[in-house]
Amino acid sequence: MTQGSQQDAPFVAQCAATGATVTTSTANEVVAFYRRRQRLLDTDIEWVSAEHRAVSQAPESDDVAYVLRELDDDFERGVPLGILAAAMSKQGRTVGDTLADVYDLRMAGSLWEPRSDYLRPV
């Protein structure tokens, strides 16, 4: 457990439809941005940059559960959903893609959410 923070650097993401960008201090704020955009536009969000150490050290894999397990050591109180989404962007996954995968895993009981938008493997 070395980090626990998601605030190492600004996170930048953009709307896939319009290119509108957002810069946030936490990765989970990008998730909040995604939800607000989806509510009004039904569009997805792509990552532009996320220079967080956990993201850069995360394995490049399509397997969300595997990536979550690898990130878990770094976050004592759960992996921020936005950090996981940023790590998955290395495989070209959008925020919406990762949230859909996470939802499926949750519904299958394969991960748990100790608090809202923070994940841990089962």
């Binding site: 319009t18 509108a20 957002v22 941005f33 607000r36 955009r37 509510r39 009004l40 536009l41 039904d42």
Partner: protein
């Protein structure tokens, strides 16, 4: 004398007299998180708030959702062709029923169904059916089936939200006994309804998140003293000295006279000018004067320091022409220029240096905005 903090922090309520130095809303009303919570009730829970465009839902069962503050609403066209609104909350145990559905991508449903325990409602909000487990007491040894009286449809209907319209614009009001929309809108209603706004189709939507309080942008929209220095491309075709800002009870109109006459085909309205309508609290109608179409803005707060500008554009066809695309781009340029300005202003306000701003004599529209906010807080 400028009211700086901390040397002179004795702010006062917005003076009704614009020539007084306390003619602006104190800065704390732009930066205090508690004020954001207050506004959800005192402003967005009390006045008529724009929900969306009726053309988005033309068939029975067509719907979209809208979130205003913490309130989530379904706007649906019923079988009598009426646009109605209901809280997106099940009468059973309060579950959110329908997924967020933007006006730009509306859904259609034969009935409103809660996915939790499958309570279903007609499009007029009446409870239509419940599963059999609500009509018999098989799991409860203390009751017989005869003890279960069933659910009365109308007594267990959805909570309806007051709706009314100005032409195709659908508005909501969450107050128990709201002032009629016609009263809040005044002459705005007849003026907008005199134009064929319903004949235009939604073409595109831009949503921008901006780092300032929603009233900061509202104030910027409401005056053009800043235009000469900051919108140099736009004002090349505008005669600012001949323009006029008209203030009414709950709306104000910015009349911008064009330098040279524009073809009648390039306007919806008769006057040879651009007309920008601001309708308290957070809706605008933009009649550009140089496009056969119009735009609307919703200035939706996210929190005390951020808002979403939801910009919708309407033209004769939802597929825009090249000229219309170019027009929208010009409009977007104006927005971006304004975002820079209001974020700079908000950075200053957030610093806490200024206790109360002061308005100029030609910022009487902003004065009206600030007065309405003050009145709402005190109500």
């Amino acid at each position: 004398m400028t009211r700086w903090n901390p040397s002179n922090d004795d702010v006062e309520a917005v003076s009704p007299d614009i020539t007084d130095e306390t003619n602006a809303l104190p800065a704390k009303y732009f930066t205090d998180p508690n004020v954001h919570g207050l506004e959800k009730e005192k402003i967005f829970g009390r006045y008529w708030v724009y929900a969306g465009h009726a053309n988005a839902i033309t068939e029975p069962g067509a719907y979209f959702t809208r979130t205003i503050g913490d309130r989530q609403v379904i706007i649906v066209r019923d079988h009598d062709d009426e646009v109605r609104a209901f809280f997106n909350v099940c009468a059973h145990r309060g579950s959110k029923m329908v997924e967020d559905t933007p006006m730009t991508d509306p859904g259609n449903m034969g009935r409103i169904r809660c996915p939790y325990h499958m309570w279903s409602y007609d499009l007029d909000g009446d409870l239509e059916s419940t599963p059999q487990s609500f009509e018999e007491a098989g799991l409860n040894p203390d009751l017989s089936d005869d003890d279960v009286c069933g659910m009365n449809a109308s007594e267990n209907s959805l909570s309806e939200v007051e709706t009314d319209r100005i032409g195709p614009f659908v508005f909501l009001n969450f107050a128990d006994d709201p002032t009629p929309l016609a009263e809040q809108a005044g002459t705005l209603k007849s003026e907008l309804e005199a134009m064929p706004l319903g004949e235009y189709e939604h073409a595109t939507r831009y949503v921008s998140e901006v780092d300032c309080n929603w009233k900061t942008f509202a104030g910027n929209y409401s005056e053009c003293d800043h235009c000469h220095a900051n919108h140099q491309d736009w004002i090349t075709d505008i005669e600012l000295t001949e323009s006029e800002l008209e203030v009414n009870d709950y709306h104000w109109i910015l009349h911008y006279t064009h330098d040279e006459d524009v073809d009648d085909e390039m306007r919806i309205h008769d006057e040879h000018e651009a007309k920008f309508y601001y309708f308290w609290p957070n809706f605008t109608v933009n009649m550009y004067g140089t496009a056969d179409g119009y735009g609307t803005y919703i200035i939706d707060p996210i929190d005390e320091g951020r808002f979403q500008l939801i910009a919708d554009y309407y033209f004769s066809d939802e597929a825009m022409t090249d000229a219309e695309r170019e027009f929208v781009q010009t409009s977007r340029q104006l927005q971006e220029e304004d975002f820079e300005l209001v974020e700079r202003q908000y950075e200053g306000l957030k610093s806490g240096a200024l206790a109360q701003a002061q308005l100029g004599p030609n910022e009487h529209t902003v004065h009206r905005l600030h007065r309405l906010a003050q009145e709402a807080y005190e109500a």
